[in-house]
């Protein structure tokens, strides 16, 4: 995306997210009371975040790649399982990948 394209996408996406927040304050409560709506929305969140994990870990452009990001993600998962705070998890992943790359891993 060009810098201008990124700005336009950024403003439009922010407007969409704000409109959703505001709509939640305006719609009658019973509209969203249907459990299937809430459950599907929660699952969409899970699916998008999981897909983003996969894409950020194992792809570059249109290729599947295995590099230092995968062991870094494993370290992050272990840290999460041990209930480490978010910022520590992120830092551990970065340090793992940086060290592996310094040792010659792609």
């Amino acid at each position: 995306m060009s810098p201008v394209g990124t700005w336009i996408a950024l403003v439009v996406a922010s407007a969409v997210v704000f409109a959703l927040k505001l709509a939640g304050h305006l719609v009658p409560k019973h509209w969203l009371a249907e459990p299937r709506v809430a459950r599907t929305a929660a699952l969409v969140t899970v699916a998008l975040l999981s897909a983003l994990v996969a894409v950020q870990t194992a792809t570059r452009g249109n290729e599947l790649v295995l590099d230092a990001r995968l062991p870094a993600l494993v370290v992050a998962a272990i840290a999460l399982a041990l209930r480490a705070p978010f910022i520590v998890v992120v830092l551990l992943a970065a340090v793992t990948a940086a060290v592996l790359r310094a040792l010659g891993m792609p």
Partner: protein, 230 residues
Amino acid sequence: MTHDAEGRAAIRQAVSVSLATGLYGVSFGALAVAAGLTVPQAMALSLLMFSGGSQFAFIGVVGAGGLAGAAIATAGLLGVRNGLYGPQVAPLIDSRGWRRPLAAQLTIDESTAVATAHKPPHAAQLGFWWTGVGVFVLWNVFTLVGAVAGDRMGDPARYGLDAAAAAAFLGLVWPRITGPGSRLAQTVAAGAVVVALALTPLVPAGIPVLLAAVVAIAAGLVAREPEPVA
């Protein structure tokens, strides 16, 4: 008396949640710059979009070279969650006029969680506003710190920032796929990973993530098992 104690408890909780959440604004700022955004763009996202999941998703799609439409759709779909918080929060804080759009902008995971954790109306209101404003201020300050630091570091891969982005998404999804009653969520997560990776060589960047949401919609419509809402 009870109200005062409860109010103080809500404020204490708001402050600690704001500090913890605000601090990871550093990682957002750094990752936004690593994804190719400028410092002002990273700042604009935290000010205008102000929703961690949507912001990380936006920079994830942009960083992968995705189209504007894919970045907007992914951020928007992750923002649906905030829309569902509105009906829980609105009756608690009873805001009108100019305060309503302000309350809407501050309706995020953290402010909703703190507001709904306190029964007395006045404590719920204190919890909502202190958390919303506290996270907003600190999230933006730390986004700036992270973006400026990231900007000076140079090649993001050398510092493992690309791996940090993956870890950030894992951290966001983790509470939703662990713990009791999350079997359906785990199945959806696994399906989404398979769909995203299988489609990566076939369709433009950003689209595999969006199509993974189809897995979730199908599961949400078909599944009978009552699932606790995250």
